[in-house]
Amino acid sequence: MDLFEEVRGILADLLDLDEKRITAESYLVRELGAESIDFIELAATMSRRFKIEIRKDEIFLKRLRFYAMEAGLNGWDTVSFIRDKYPHLPGPRVAEIVRDLEDGPALKVKDLLFYLESRVAGK
């Protein structure tokens, strides 16, 4: 089973959703209805399933808005600053996230996959 299929199964169980509703482009909070408490279980389940340590701040982009504000206050380039904070995310995805910030929580299923791929590859 590929990584996406595994993550999709975990999310469907956790959020009580039909798997067909979940794509790599789905927003976890905005579209799939994930709540902050879901991220606690999600991290624990993925950590056990993939046998890796998961840093919740990183995989769920928990400080994303704070970093964006920090960059703005200091006159730094927001995309570069956030790219440094979340090195598992490709540059184009970071730029997309920064453009998307005003519309709500930007985390997508594919962001989890980027993180898991980087951690599994780095093991």
């Binding site: 624990a44 504000m69 206050l73």
Partner: protein, 389 residues
Amino acid sequence: MSGVFLSMFAERIKNRLTYQRKAGLLRNPAPVTRREGKYIFSGGRRIVNFASNDYLGLGCCAELGRCAARNFRRYGTSSSSSRLAGGNYSVISRAEKEYAAFFGYSDALFFPSGYQANMGLISTLLERDDRVYFDKHIHASSVKGMIMSGSGLSGYNHNNLSHLERRLRSAGQHGRSAVLTESLFSMDGDILDAAELKRLKDLYGFLAIVDEAHAFGVLGEGGRGIAGGVADIAVGTFGKAFGLFGAFVLLPEGFKDFLFNFSSPLIYTTTLPEAHAATAVDALAIAERSDGKRRHLRAACLLMKDRLLREGFRISGDAHILALEIGDENKAAEMSRRLFERGVFVLAARYPTVALNRAILRIGITALHEEEDIDLFVKVVKEVHGEVE
């Protein structure tokens, strides 16, 4: 050198607070100079309080106040010790027995706060190889206890026992498992389907731990709550309907000794004073004979909900906690601020207390509220809702 480190922390703290402010998440409660029944006073103004958990009005009742004064004069002001050192007073043990008997459990244990009770109970009782199924809207203290326990986690969507059943079924046979939920949810204001939870418990087998903090004293016969038929363990607080402070955990046989020996938040804290225990017994007696107050409260809740629905607001809640849905955090905070200016105090519950972009005005109704207070609330909330829109 230490100044450098201080400024590093100060810079980070400043940035975090700036972010909270910009996101509409900064908590900045108004100073309250005085309380008088359903009113609080702030900045020289009298404000009707809809942010209180004093559901029966005992927190400001003269009779309980006299009992507390008498008990503190008699027993002194502090236990001056942890329960396991020199603080295992017989007055406290007797009060615990009375609470257990009233609510129909084998035993009870008092904790200094509801937060400590949930955290101390759950983190101690559950272990790494156990599995805990939990309603996703349980209190932060229960979440903290659950995480500390290291047990396997399986959340189910809020008050959705069908989802709980699917999760129980998909997990298959498991050793020790527990379900954590509340009987009256502290933010959503909705009520647990205790009969359905009982059906699941009989079918799948689990330990049922129910937080009845907002229900005890108000709901059920004589204020005995609504989960008595299904809960193995229940948590209550003195700081809500009982008008005091601290909390209690109702337990099956044998569990008290276990918590006494292993629950760190209980072991390493000064126990509540004897006067507290004696006053808790007085509060229980007053609460038991408060059927009139419970009826009045029920009528006030129905009236408030009906009036707000008629005005077109989206309201949830089945009892004395109503959630008026707003959504945007900044809007909820601004509405709460303007309501306060016009003589109504209501909490804007925002992330992370509720989900992001799902901010609510959390309306707490008490037996002290009269129809005129509800009229005022509805009139003013209509005004500010239109303005902030």
